[in-house]
């Protein structure tokens, strides 16, 4: 029984997602008639009615007590988590015990991240976000909500099954030679060629990478590109997985790899919703690069991109990526090479610099509005802030510049809409034939490696340590992780690798990570636990670039209502590194984490020795150049 809801301060639902159980419960409780066609609005109304008292009470508490609810729990262990971002209230509910309070909080923050990726600076303003998330047109709204729901479900699936989304770090395929070759390919054959092409209409490839399922095979950034943060990369993987879901299920793998053994069904994958099925089939079919006339693909708005019933590889999605100044609009092209292997290109769109100005004004206006609401006169502007007049003249100047750029802009109140039109005009990256060529080149390049890669993605790393059951090693400085796959079925790896035991271990690993993060949030960087027949360790430490281990520091403990520990959401580790670097200003500081699960019968001394050996060995692969 799950639900996620976004509402604004006037208790208007901006978006909701529920599972069928929750929907049924609400309908039973409120006797909502379930007529075909009418079902949706009626259900939306009842959701609205149900949550309205909570939403209203939230604003009362904020206004009158300066405090706000963060969670409720009931005697039958239903959990409600609430979080307010500016004017937008998120509520996540779980009634089936699958998710903890922490999970729900994370889900809320991920939802927030997804809206930021999709809508950029619109999320700065409640009114604009409302317009964007709740279009007047019901059709349009349904389409958007369907897209958001699908993204949320994709995230939940990844969070539940994929270790890289468990620890929120990108997993790399460990194969130095191939990796290097691919990077070279991306650089010479793809990015350089596309960017030197005259047909690209002002677009420029900034980043290119190849994913094998959710794992990163190679990544290349052009010289003028700014840094792509791990949080964005993870969010982009969610988008890619939403377009081309890969079937990483425990039993599927085991059947693939062990066709000789008696098939046993240990794990039943959750039934996918019917609409997902069609997408999956598309993902499965061999990719055909049928590029229609790219000009036809022009999308005026990101919403219209969502509209497209089939994800056309040459139709880019608009994504907003973090940069120093503001969320910068980019185009993302996803090209499935084989099922499970995807080439992703991120391009800078022409006029994207407009975003910086718009962002500036948007923030200025939001501040101004707040000030006016609080009763300060515009004239009595706060110190250090430009006056209204100043803002106005700046804005006028900007609009003139835009006019010069052939953008139809005349009125102040239209500034935003017009920006959107401009910024959202998707220029097709290059002619179809060219894109086709690059994709073909990629296909040719990887042809021999394809099967290897797909298997490798499931059995990335193995390590022989008696008594060691599982580990996850994370380099937080570059946001990457290494771990043996939990769905490995090769008998040589571990007898624990399949069936209910694997599932049990998986649960344990998931709970270990959650536990470690909870302790880390409270400032504990080393944790060992003896739980049942297993012994768990967690370590976080800092090193300089040469691998010299730096002294441990007191990590500030963060409040319970703060962002969850992770990278996808608010990037805790980036802040942690910044905090540590203040004390080591003249050297590069790196941050590592190690999670291990051992058999409990192994003496502690051996376990700790293992951990330290493991950390030493794993340090090596991270030396592979990725850029």
């Amino acid at each position: 029984m799950k639900c996620l809801l976004l509402a604004n301060e006037s208790a208007e639902v901006l978006f909701y997602w529920t599972d069928t159980e929750f929907e049924q419960r609400v309908q039973e409780q409120y006797g909502v008639s379930q007529e075909e066609g009418e079902r949706l609005p009626a259900f939306e109304d009842s959701i609205n009615t149900l949550f309205a008292p909570i939403i209203i009470s939230c604003s009362t508490m904020v206004d009158r007590l300066g405090d706000n609810y963060t969670s409720f729990s009931t005697e039958n262990n239903h959990i409600y988590v609430l979080h307010q971002f500016e004017e937008c209230l998120y509520i996540a509910v779980n009634g089936d015990g699958d998710e903890t309070e922490e999970d729900l909080k994370r889900k809320i923050f991920v939802m927030k991240k997804l809206t930021e990726i999709m809508f950029g600076m619109v999320t700065f303003s409640g009114a604009l976000l409302r317009k964007e998330l709740r279009p007047q047109d019901t059709e349009q709204r349904n389409r958007l909500w369907k897209k958001l729901r699908s993204l949320l479900e994709t995230y939940s699936r990844l969070r539940e099954n994929d270790q890289s989304f468990l620890v929120e770090a990108v997993e790399r395929l460990i194969h130095p030679t191939l990796c290097e070759q691919c990077i070279e390919f991306l650089e010479r054959r793809l990015v350089q060629q596309i960017n030197s092409n005259m047909d690209r209409m002002g677009e420029e490839v900034l980043h290119a990478f190849i994913l094998v399922h959710t794992k990163l095979l190679a990544f290349y950034s052009s010289r003028n590109a700014s840094n792509l943060y791990s949080s964005d990369l993870l969010a982009l993987i969610i988008l890619v997985q939403d377009l081309y879901p890969s079937k990483i299920n425990l039993d599927e793998t085991s059947e693939e790899l062990e066709s000789s053994s008696v098939p046993e069904v240990f794990y039943t994958p959750e039934p996918s919703p019917p609409e997902r099925e069609s997408v999956r089939q598309r993902g499965d079919s061999p990719p055909v690069f049928q590029f229609v006339d790219p000009d036809v693909q022009m999308a005026e708005d990101s919403l219209q991109t969502l509209e497209a019933p089939t994800p056309d590889p040459s139709a880019p999605s608009r994504v907003f990526l973090e940069s120093k100044e503001c969320p910068m609009p980019h185009s993302m092209y996803c090209l499935p090479l084989w099922p499970g292997i995807t080439l992703v290109l991120l391009t800078k769109i022409p006029n994207s610099h407009v975003a910086t100005s718009v962002c500036y004004f948007l923030e200025a206006f939001v501040k101004l509005e707040k000030r006016l609401c609080e009763g300060h006169e515009g004239a009595a502007a706060m110190r250090g802030q430009p006056s209204v007049q100043e803002q106005r003249s700046r804005l006028e100047k900007l609009i003139k510049t835009w006019a010069g750029m052939d953008i139809q802009t005349s009125q102040l109140q239209n500034a935003w809409t017009d920006f959107k039109n401009k910024a959202f005009i998707c220029c097709p990256l290059c002619t179809g034939s060219f894109l086709q060529l690059s994709a073909w080149a990629a296909v040719k390049k990887l042809m021999d490696w394809k099967d290897f890669l797909l298997v490798k993605s499931k059995r990335n790393i193995t390590m022989e340590f008696p008594g060691l059951i599982h580990f996850i090693y994370v380099d937080r400085s570059n946001g990457q992780m290494i771990a043996p796959s939990l769905n490995v079925t090769d008998r040589t790896v571990s007898e624990l690798g399949k069936g209910p035991l694997a599932d049990f271990i998986k649960k344990k690993v998931w709970s270990l990570v959650a536990t470690a993060q909870r302790y880390l949030q409270k400032g504990y960087a080393t944790v060992t636990l003896r739980d049942g027949d297993y012994f768990y360790c967690y370590f976080l430490w800092f090193e300089n670039e040469t691998g010299y281990k730096l002294e441990v520091i007191d990590i500030p403990s963060s409040p319970d209502d703060g962002a969850p520990v992770g990278m996808l959401t608010c990037d805790y580790y980036r802040k942690l590194l910044r905090y540590y670097s203040k004390k080591h200003q003249n050297e590069v500081v790196k941050c590592y984490e190690l999670f291990t699960v051992h058999l409990g019968v192994i003496p502690n001394e051996y376990i700790l020795q293992h951990c330290s050996q493991l950390a030493r060995k794993l340090w090596e692969p991270t030396r592979i150049p990725l850029l």
């Binding site: 009470s57 609810y69 039958n76 003896r530 430490w541 002294e551 007191d554 590592y592 001394e605 493991l614």
Partner: protein
Amino acid sequence: KITLPPLTNSFFFLYDSSKVQEEVDLTRDGIYYFSPEDTPIDQQELLCGQLAGVCRCVSELSSSPVRLLHLRKSKYAVRMKDKFLWALSCVVDIPDVSVCDLLDQLIALFCFYNGPVRQSYQLYSKQELALRWARYLCHLQGGSTELHHIFSCLRTIDSTHIDPLLLLKAALILQACQRCPLVLAGCILYRGRVVSTQMPPALTVKVMVYETQTYSQDFQVTANGLSSLVGSPFSSTATTQVFLMPTELHMLRCPPVDRACRSHCNQPPCQPSRSRLLSRTLSDTPTTDTDSSMPSSPRSSLSDELCFSPSPSRVNTPIHSNLMNQSEYFTPDSHVHSTSNGTNLCAVEEHLAGLNINQIKSEENKLDANNHVTNKNGNGETEEEAKTKSKQINRKLKEKNEPTNTPSPHETLEDTSLVPLVLYQHRVKGLVLALLVEPEFITDHSAREEVHHSSLASLNGLEAHLRNTSPGTPGPPGPYTFAHYDCIQNTLTTNVCGRSVGPQDQAFVKATKLVHSHFSRLDTLQEAIVRNASSAVYGTRTTAQETYFLQQGTPVRNSGSPDPQDSAFSLPRKARLRLLKHGVNLL
């Protein structure tokens, strides 16, 4: 550095939503009790109104009562039952499980002394009951360390400084009392701390209410006053009606063999109190034979001698008898006030309000003199007084009872689920023998005599011994900090002392909170070591105990990377060695 007990700045309220149903109803009508009482009424209304509204909404959505409500700056443990809503707040870093336990204890305390809540509010004014809530709240908050709140444990006498023979003696006194078949179980308290108990911890804590308060550190001045006071001969007995839950009663009535079995089966001590308010169905209703067979004589807060005379009035319905006792037992501080003297009651009131401690002291002294006389000079007069008083009370009762309607079916159900019993207390200076006895005990003259006389001499002896035992100057604090919680007896042994807590102790308490919370969530978790830059804490638990250990001193420079030489990992070995001398066996 002084750290305040975690509940000092907390809110507690009882709200009846059945009083606020129409638009015109005022929220304040639903507020039965709100602490701190000097909170402005509009703020009280705001909090009660908002929390009650949200709780109702959530409980409807989930078809289950709300249990916990987190805010950014505080958290509330919540109980919802029959339109009542109790909420107790605390700071956010107290474990959820601890604050929920505290609220449950608070409600249980109220019901123990007053019976069902709805009925109590039909009988007494909000003001009268507010006084009691305040007292119970004070009892739970009073004077103990943060660790005590985390484990919500009993305050026990420091057994390491006491001749074990004395503990044996205490246990023998209790066993001797049990020879009287009407005595169910007992406990012996010395200056607000448990010396020996036969009751489950949840019951012991209820019996201790007034004792702990008297001797808690919050009332240091008063306690000093009393300790000077107990120098004079001072012995009295009193009885109070109390209400037990069927589960509690069952545990008391089952034979000792079963009792042994009980602890063997390892039933979590707090379980009955949890289930109590959650589901009370007809099937839970105990055999009502006690109700019907209960002789309804006025339970007296007066000295026991008074009760030897036949009671002038007899009331026949359980409810009536209950009313009777309640109003008579207006302030159940019977152990202090063995005479029913108006001034004494006043003194108690003031004492509670914390108004003028010096005045209280003098009142107590006066009272002491009074008692002294009473006990010495026979009791013709007092008996007379008592009779008049009970008549007055009867009148008062009738007045009160007439306008009240017959209880609703639900309330009747609630009534039958709490079983009236009698708490007998025999005080010898700082020492109190508290026995839970069958109601017949009061009228059974010979039984009373027997219990009184069989225990009197031993109690006097025990008191003298305990008084002469040096309060135990704690030895030089070791280079470590520990806390050992006995889940079965609900007791805590620790060397974190009092309220002045150093940085190492703070680090210890912080880690203990987290690990305890983790233990409470994960049954299979056996041990944990958590380490930050300045401290490492080791926690281990079995079904019977939880132990936490911190080695003091600055840790050797380390990086936090996996290292077998890391001193944090030697904590289990150190804890095993060091704690042996505290009677903690971790082997």
